[in-house]
């Protein structure tokens, strides 16, 4: 059997590693990824403030895959043909090589099982003027973007050292962007570094977000036990921002970026502008625009993908009002409903709806975060998809023995600043489940015993520990499979 994995990020790499471990030499695992490197994305923040180099957060995939016996093709997927074509009924994916030696050449790669783990397309185009290379805004969504952000930040630091005041804007670059946690962490890191260099008084840092309340983080916020009260992450996040001398603008959907100016619309329907000298804004995410075709060459993209290019899975996509959403809407096996040998893992699967309540401005613009699926959920989903495919192959069954719903699994988000055993600080937040389960936890939506918010050195240690632990795991060092996702 041939199992084809598209993508080698957190989810795809995890899926490929577990597939090979479970299937052994009897079956082939093929990985198609346009980049030559694996990157541990959460540590890109440290690259963005010069605490790490890009080689601290990435490694070449080819060597690891050769060691594991995985067939690696450095290429991007162009189209999926789940029914094959006139010459063969086996499904295949048309890929285009991106490696220097084969750049531009195409190939059809056949599969028996397909895992789509392509991650998100960083859709800078959805916000005119946004993105690296445009109007001096930067990104930390990939290691090269983060390295570029650090170059630009150093220019700002030089100006601050000369006594020039600088306006820094960090946040979401689209009305429906997600991944607020990463941007929030970057804002904290900039504040920490500037404070350390005694330059903070010259910088005006603003957190610009599409959240209804600060601390929503795309999951409708959370409630934590703190100081003898059950308090919301709104209070927690605002306290962290205020302590770090960061102002905030919430309920803002960025519409356009010009040189030195960010134009945004608020939920009130006002159109406003904020000036910047340095801005890091997370773009909208979408699928990669991979097409799908049936045996006769007819376009069947809508049978595999939702309108945003993310893959349809076993979620309940029926449109319902926010008040009627339940955790049963969320997928558990990530199997495509139309082709049972196709799965999506990580950010590549189409969520049934957001977690945060949808909000519309007076002008009809949707301004709210789409659901986050990065990090822990991506790894867990990748592993569960691999376990189920391996089980199906080994036992020749259609049974799915393993499940992972975002309405059941939790997640940890650690916002860490500084670097070192005694010189850092971390805000640790855990939630369980990620999607509120109002039936099981009618008052707060989540298990309060598993949902915590802590600030201290310990969070920074955990972040450091996780950096080395996850790279250990990703590189396949001894006992890697025992380490959690």
């Amino acid at each position: 059997m041939d199992v084809l994995v598209l993508g080698a990020g957190v989810s795809g790499h995890t899926a490929a590693a577990f597939l090979k471990r479970k299937l052994g030499k009897k079956h082939n695992v093929i990985v198609v990824s346009p980049g030559a490197y694996y990157q541990w994305i959460p540590s890109n923040i440290w690259v963005g403030v010069g605490r790490m180099t890009i080689d601290n957060v990435r490694f070449k995939l080819a060597r690891i895959y050769r060691k594991w016996g995985i067939d690696f093709r450095q290429a991007k997927a162009l189209s999926i043909h789940p029914e094959g074509d006139d010459s063969s009924s086996r499904g295949y994916v048309t890929i285009e090589y991106t490696s220097a030696d084969q750049k531009g050449s195409n190939e059809n790669v056949e599969y028996d099982y397909l895992v789509n783990a392509t991650g998100p397309k960083l859709n800078f185009e959805k916000t005119p003027g946004l993105g690296p290379g445009n109007n001096t805004t930067v990104s930390v969504c990939s290691y090269d973007h983060a390295a570029h952000a650090w170059e630009e930040l150093q220019k700002v630091i030089e100006k601050l050292k000369r006594g020039e005041k600088q306006k820094i804007v960090i946040g979401t670059g689209h009305a429906m962007a997600t991944c607020q946690g990463a941007a929030f962490e970057y804002a904290m890191n900039i504040s920490f570094e500037l404070r350390k260099q005694k330059l903070l008084h010259l910088a005006e840092i603003t957190w610009l977000t599409n959240e209804y309340e600060v601390g929503d983080f795309g999951m409708g916020g959370a409630f934590i036990k703190r100081g003898g009260y059950v308090t919301s992450t709104k209070i927690f996040a605002e306290s962290v921002l205020a302590e770090n001398n960061i102002n905030w603008i919430k309920r803002a959907g960025v519409q356009k970026v010009d040189q030195g100016k960010i134009h945004y619309e608020t939920l009130d329907g006002d159109y406003k502008t904020i000036e910047y000298d340095f801005a890091m804004l997370i773009p909208a995410f979408s699928g990669h625009g991979i097409g799908a075709f049936d045996r006769k060459g007819n376009d069947i993209t809508s049978r595999l993908f939702a309108g945003n290019g993310l893959m349809l899975v076993d979620a309940d996509y029926q449109t319902r009002p926010f008040e009627e959403w339940t955790i049963q809407d969320w997928p558990t096996t990530y199997q495509n409903p139309n082709y049972d040998n196709i799965y999506a893992a990580g950010i590549a699967f189409a969520p049934p709806h957001s977690i945060s309540k949808p909000m519309k401005s007076r002008n009809g613009t949707d301004i709210f975060p789409t659901p986050p699926r990065t990090g822990m959920p991506s790894g867990v989903i990748g592993k569960v998809v691999a376990q189920n495919i391996a089980h199906r192959i080994r036992h020749q069954t259609d049974e799915h023995k393993h499940t992972a719903s975002m309405g059941r699994m939790g997640a940890a988000c650690i916002i860490s600043v500084g670097y070192g055993i005694r010189k850092g600080m971390g805000a640790t937040m855990t939630v369980s489940p990620i999607v509120q389960d109002w039936e099981k936890y009618p008052q707060w939506g989540r298990d309060l015993n598993a949902t915590v918010g802590e600030i201290g050195l310990a969070g920074h240690w955990i972040k450091l520990f996780l950096h080395y632990m996850f790279l250990h795991k990703a590189k396949g060092y001894p006992f890697w499979w025992l380490l959690p996702e």
């Binding site: 404070r195 005694k198 903070l200 008084h201 100081g227 209070i235 605002e238 306290s239 921002l241 205020a242 302590e243 001398n245 960061i246 102002n247 905030w248 822990m376 867990v380 592993k383 569960v384 393993h402 499940t403 992972a404 059941r408 699994m409 939790g410 997640a411 940890a412 005694r422 600080m425 640790t428 855990t430 369980s432 489940p433 598993a450 915590v452 802590e454 600030i455 201290g456 050195l457 310990a458 969070g459 240690w461 955990i462 959690p484 996702e485």
Partner: protein
């Protein structure tokens, strides 16, 4: 904190709770943080194990 805060009354950033000196000390106290390190790791591991079957 540096002398940044000028007059912040009636602005959003004026109202959130701010850490006291004791809270800031506890955030960097090695023994307290060592305890929290293991406690948080335990909480995270519980979440991971419960999260998928």
């Amino acid at each position: 904190m540096e002398n940044l805060n000028k007059i912040r009354g009636y602005k959003d950033e004026f109202y959130p709770p701010m850490p006291t000196k004791t809270t800031k000390h506890l955030r960097t106290n090695f023994l307290v943080q060592l305890y929290k390190f293991f406690r948080l790791n335990y909480k995270i591991m519980r979440i991971v194990i419960k999260g998928h079957s």
